[in-house]
């Protein structure tokens, strides 16, 4: 991390993963303690793990293997493969299972999910060398990244991107700050709409954030939720500097910290069903 952090006082700090060796225990701890974890990696450093072959095919699963092979540019393929490996390793750590036993599937809006394991929501983002994965056991999660130096001109995009309240906040700022704030809002909006599984199909002028990253707010700046969302923006440094925003939801069910797949089938229910089937005789 480069030290930049806005909002996110209740969020866990992003964890750098140098390679497939982890430290994955920190992911499990973060999910247990905070309810969520955000991990990031430089995909170039993971290259040895994504050499095409039977091993990678097993790790990616059939569907993502097909997607991998359909990608033409080597760096796009490798980044894609590393992002899926990062999801599998991180989720595997939280669920206490081997990474290649998970099925990463996609909802109609494109949101990735772990088929059959809904104790954990996931989100993915990548820019250039950076790959980021968010995991949350309490509700939805969205992550989004941009190069910190990317220039977005306020005059060109504010109509499509900003609420009335945000325009009031940004309009008076001096130049470099204005662009930086605009970029921060952009990643927050992307993260929030990705958490809802909709990406850019959601109108960006319909919800907003304040200077401290609180949201979502109505277009005129009033709260549009009762505090079930937390947002944070971080600076990440991998040679290049990146901005990364997290949107983290809490559905308020107060779930137990246990996300392990091995314990999810209730012994009483399972036992009762097995008991009755056994009494019905062989063949089962």
């Amino acid at each position: 991390m480069s030290g930049y952090e806005r909002g996110g006082s209740t969020l866990a700090a992003p964890i750098l993963m140098e390679g497939p060796a982890g430290p994955w225990l920190r992911v499990r701890e973060s999910v247990a303690f905070f309810g969520h974890a955000v991990v990031y990696a430089d995909w170039n450093r993971w290259l040895p793990a994504v050499a095409a072959g039977p091993e990678l095919r097993r790790l990616l699963g059939n569907r993502d293997w097909e997607r991998f092979n359909a990608l033409a540019k080597p760096e796009v393929r490798h980044r894609f493969a590393v992002s899926r490996l990062l999801v599998r390793h991180a989720a595997g750590a939280a669920l206490e299972v081997v990474p290649d036993t998970l099925e990463v599937a996609y909802k109609p809006g494109g949101r990735p999910y772990l088929r059959g394991c809904d104790q954990l929501d996931v989100s993915l983002s990548h820019t250039l060398d950076l790959v980021v994965v968010g995991l949350n056991r309490r509700g939805r999660i969205g992550v989004d990244t941009e190069l910190a130096g990317r220039r977005l001109r306020y005059s060109e995009v504010h109509r499509q991107m900003c609420t009335v309240a945000e325009r009031a906040m940004l309009a008076g700022l001096p130049m470099p700050e204005q662009e930086a704030e605009l970029l921060r809002l952009w990643t927050l909006k992307e993260a929030y709409t990705k958490a809802l599984g909709q990406g850019m199909r959601m109108g960006f002028t319909q919800f907003g954030f304040d200077a401290d990253g609180r949201g979502p707010l109505t277009p005129d700046g009033r709260p549009a939720s009762y505090g079930e969302w937390a947002f944070g923006t971080y600076g990440l440094d991998l040679g290049d500097s990146y901005l990364m925003s997290v949107a983290c939801h809490d559905a308020g069910l107060g779930g137990e910290a246990d996300t392990s797949v091995a314990t999810m089938l209730d012994e009483g229910f399972f036992g009762q069903v097995v008991d009755l089937l056994d009494r019905r005789g062989p063949g089962r």
Partner: protein, 572 residues
């Protein structure tokens, strides 16, 4: 029944009318204050709504499960919290008594509900439990009854219930017979050994009153036990079948209102009209609501018609539907995202539902509880039922005037045959017959059905190779992913069974466009390679979406008249 539904519609009035004390705006305001809408509770009192939860034989109106779901929908169309907080949880509590209570217990429970009293259910603790399911009460058997101790963190209506139906631990360990159902009268004064803890505010269903219960050496007489001691887990698995199917059906009412608000927003005067993507979203959500309704309805009827096998469908429908409705709401948010006031009120209603639905569906806990029922059975079904079992009787899909009674005590909790998988296999030959339509639709329909059957065959191979009943093997991500696939295939069986067995009197339902769209969305969720939709498919479904909006008819299989938009008059 239609009259009962229309009376409720009239009592609640047009949800989109800003001046309606039971409209969306007023409901959102009550939600903001963490209250149930008082006017809503009064309207339900006036409609003698609690009698819907009491069997006819005991003086109530509960006769058919599928009818009950339809009568509940007008309430859930307005407010999920009101539906739960007013009463559906009284039914969830009472259903153990309907299933296994003595004559005396049944009579007393019926009198309590018919007299306006509420019942709370005090759940036992379950794997991956959330606040509502964490902790449990322990009952020790004595010479003259039971002594109840322990603390439960969150019980709905704890403060205002006339009684509690407690799933208490009566044996150590967690086995098939470790729990028993006990009745606890809350009206006894002084309330010896019973303390209701302060109310707990919740993120979802904010108006519902949850509070903890603390029991200290509370004595219960011997006739407090429902069924036999040790029957608790089995009674939960019996009665949950009704709860699961009902919840899946009633949340479709909430989806209806959200879809209606989105249609109102894009068709309003001055709106620029729906674009291609918006038509796709609106038609797609409608197709989802229809297949969900088909599946929920078939499962509700199976409680009457196939009591040996209903448990499978009940677990599958509950596994799929509440989460799917939540995703559809998120999708509708993209259509509602515009700044005029109509869209804003629709959007805040969707936001409220997005808070309420996880609480109603129980999130991961609900999923895991369904997986715990499905997974131990799928290996055996793969070997003995899939591809072998006979198709279910047509009465499952097309209800006649008479239906076997709902006998909760007769519901099996394991075994039976998989009637939804059998419906999927059985539908294919009928698609070529008189139920189908020539041209591109039939071809696409056949191809979609074939790929879903191929998916079932794949599941048959995978599960067929697994041992049944081995928790270590089945509690793995691969098995959980396959169970997820199974639930989608079962849904396809339900909707195809419904479509091929309908009587054809409703021209829209007889048209294959919505079915093709529904199966295509199901297939997409399975990651299948799908044929392209016929060119006018989305527009044919979208046309009905708009027509039903304009004539004020429900977004479900019955298309009944609703209050507002040209439907039944509000009478206000």
């Amino acid at each position: 029944m239609r009259r009962r539904i229309e009376e409720l519609e009239r009592a609640f009035g047009d949800p989109c009318d800003g001046a309606n004390p039971l409209g969306m705006a007023a409901l959102a305001e009550a939600d903001r204050r963490n209250e149930l809408p008082a006017a809503g509770e009064r309207a339900l009192d006036a409609a003698d709504f609690a009698s819907e939860f009491v069997p006819v034989a005991l003086g109530g109106r509960l006769d058919r499960a599928d009818v009950l779901a339809r009568v509940l929908r007008p309430v859930f169309r307005r407010d999920v919290a009101l539906g739960f907080g007013y009463g559906i949880t009284s039914l969830f509590a009472a259903s153990a008594v309907w299933a296994a209570g003595t004559e005396q217990q049944r009579g007393r429970t019926a009198r309590t509900l018919l007299g306006g009293g509420r019942l709370s259910i005090v759940h036992h603790s379950l794997a991956h439990g959330n606040a509502m399911w964490r902790g449990e009460l322990v009952a020790r058997r004595t010479e003259n009854g039971y002594v109840l101790n322990g603390r439960k963190d969150a019980v709905l209506n704890a403060e205002r219930s006339a009684g509690y139906v407690v799933y208490a631990r009566t044996e150590p360990g967690r086995g098939p017979r470790s729990h028993s159902v006990l009745l606890l009268d809350a009206r006894e004064r002084p309330p010896a050994g019973l303390r209701v803890l302060p109310r707990q505010l919740t993120t979802g269903m904010r108006g519902c009153r949850f509070a903890g219960l603390e029991l200290t050496d509370r004595h219960l007489p011997p006739d407090s036990v429902v069924g036999r001691p040790g029957d608790g887990t089995q009674l939960a698995l019996r009665t949950f079948q009704l709860n699961r199917a009902l919840v899946s059906s009633v949340v479709l009412g909430a989806g209806d209102t959200a879809l209606r608000s989105a249609v109102a927003a894009v068709t309003a005067e001055g709106a620029k009209g729906p674009g291609k993507r918006q038509r796709q979203v609106l038609a797609g959500v409608f197709a989802d609501l229809l297949w969900c309704d088909a599946m929920a309805t078939v499962v509700l009827r199976s409680l009457h018609v196939l009591p040996d096998s209903a448990h499978l469908g009940a677990a599958a429908v509950k596994y799929l539907v509440p989460d799917l409705v939540r995703e559809d709401l998120e999708e509708l948010g993209t259509v509602l995202g515009a700044s005029d006031s109509l869209r804003q009120s629709g959007l805040s209603y969707v936001h409220k539902l997005l808070r309420d639905l996880p609480a109603a569906g129980l999130g991961h806990l609900g999923t895991a509880a369904c997986q715990a029922v499905l997974l131990p059975q799928l290996p055996g079904l793969a070997r003995d039922s899939w591809g072998v079992a006979e198709e279910p009787p047509p009465s499952l899909f097309r209800a006649g005037p008479s239906m076997p009674p709902l006998e909760m005590g007769r519901l099996a909790v394991a075994g039976g045959t998989d009637f939804l998988a059998a419906s999927l296999n059985g539908a294919l030959p009928r698609l070529g017959g008189d139920a189908g339509e020539a041209g591109p639709y039939r071809e696409v329909l056949v191809r979609l059905t074939e790929s879903l059957i191929a998916e079932l065959q794949l599941l048959r191979r995978e599960f067929g190779a697994m041992p049944a009943g081995d928790r270590a093997v089945l509690a793995r991500p691969e098995a959980c992913a396959l169970a997820d696939r199974y639930a989608h295939v079962a849904a396809a069986g339900a909707v195809l069974g419904f479509w091929t067995r309908q009587d054809g009197t409703d021209p829209f339902l007889a048209d294959p466009a919505w079915l093709v769209l529904a199966l295509s969305r199901l297939g997409g969720r399975l990651g299948l390679k799908l044929p392209a939709l016929p060119p006018d498919c989305v527009d044919r479904v979208f046309g009905e979406v708009v027509a039903r909006y304009r004539s004020g008819r429900a977004y479900d299989l019955h298309a009944g008249l609703l209050a507002g938009s040209g439907g039944v008059g509000t009478g206000r």
